[in-house]
Amino acid sequence: MRYYTYFPGCSASEGGAKAYNWSAKAVSRVLDVDLAELEDWNCCGSTPSGSVDELGAYCMATRNLALAEKRGLEMVTPCSACYVIFNRTNTYLNGYPPFKAKVNEALAAGNLAYRGTVKVRHLLDILTTDIGYDAIKSRVKKPLAGLKVAPYYGCQVVRPRFGFDDPEYPQSLDKLVLSLGAEPTNFPLKARCCGGSLVLSEEDVALDLIHRLLQSASSNGAECLITVCPLCQTNLDIYQSRVNKKFKTSYRLPVLFFTQLMGIAFGLEEDAIGLRNCIVPIEEVLAKYV
């Protein structure tokens, strides 16, 4: 058993990406990974808070890190945005002592202090590095032979460089797909942006980017996509119909969290991994292979 502090993030915990949380926990149990949720955590601040009030945003992130530090374990999050925020916070706190002092001054108002020792990792990193492809492969009950999966990394799991996978041409998700018995499709845009939160404020910008992703995935033969980030999943899944409308296309590519695909291969219950939460249904595609 491996033990981690678990930070689900807002979207996966009570937001639109609950299925991510469920499936993450379910496959972790299968792989002997203990994800103990950080108690009383708060929103990491994500990109928007940092763009409104930088210091406040860093303080929000650091409160979680300070809480996690007390437990002394590595912290794992399934959300790419949380991952980037925490790692950036750690980098700057540890690289700029006066800044750290300032953040700690604010934290002291809540009787907290942070030394800077919590290593924050993405769930994908934990599962592929610590647990490993062989262990994952050994748990597969329903190999997804023939299923063509476009591994979509998005941006913030590999950028900026926090040492996990290549920032331009990552491989971990591709290998994971292979170890589940499925076939990763060539997907040149696999680490390009889905539009992020600008889907709310600048929908056209985002739809354009989503369109390119769907086009690239489908033209390379993908039957579904998998993602490692709640926002990516939301954009690709929910806005697919709007892309179809705007660009007069007819994509019906299911978009799963990578943990959901693992759950399918592990033979877990559909409800345990929240398959019904997908807007574009996966059942048709799965029916061909499982």
């Binding site: 979207s11 009383d40 808070s49 763009s51 930088e54 331009e168």
Partner: protein, 189 residues
């Protein structure tokens, strides 16, 4: 055109931000622009924005629309041959613009960010339904109307909860105390 509003201290202001000091090293190669998915939408390209900042054009930089189109995809940051953290700079420009009240009015992004931060600070958690409703109402109620089909779809698939996750009362109090204190410390620098 003559430059009248040169701010001699703008570059120092940026350098004091953690990760901001790299701006001095820029060689204007344009890699950031060439890597940016949204550069075409910006009134000034990312590289130009850096050049303007270095020229002390504080007002022009902060009232630009460029940073509000930043997707935080970090492509510019990993490709920059000088190790400049452009994405971080964009965030810094955004927060300075917010603080100065000069943020670009032609995009809903500032409003969206503010709404998000409002909920994140107040609740310590992000109630997606509340946040989006609030944002659409603030930006343009008509847009909210257009979102209804999506909201219904989400709801049908169990992905939209009216109820939001709450911190414990102690947790909420602690977060508030920290943020209030942070408020008094006057920004990151």
């Amino acid at each position: 055109m003559q430059l009248k509003t040169r701010s001699e201290t703008f570059i120092e202001e940026i350098c004091d931000i953690p990760g901001g000091e790299g701006i001095k090293r820029c060689i204007q190669c344009g890699t950031c622009t060439a890597s940016c998915p949204n550069a075409d939408k910006m009134d000034h390209t990312p590289a130009e924005l850096i050049a303007m900042a270095r020229a002390g054009m504080r007002r022009e930089v902060l009232s630009s629309n460029a940073m509000w189109y930043c997707l935080s995809c970090y492509l510019c940051t990993v490709r920059c041959p000088r190790g400049i953290k452009q994405t971080g700079l964009m965030h810094a420009f955004e927060s300075l613009a917010m603080r100065d009240g000069v943020s670009y009015a032609g995009s809903f992004t500032p409003t969206m960010y503010r709404s998000f931060n409002h909920f994140a600070c107040a609740l310590g958690s992000m109630p997606e339904f509340g946040f989006m409703t609030w944002f659409y109402m603030l930006s343009n109620p008509l847009r909210a109307w257009k979102m209804i089909p999506i909201a219904l779809e989400l709801f049908r698939h169990g992905r939209l909860s009216i109820k939001a996750r709450r911190l414990t009362p102690e947790g909420t109090k602690q977060l508030r105390a920290i943020l209030e204190k942070a408020e008094t410390l006057g920004g990151v620098t």
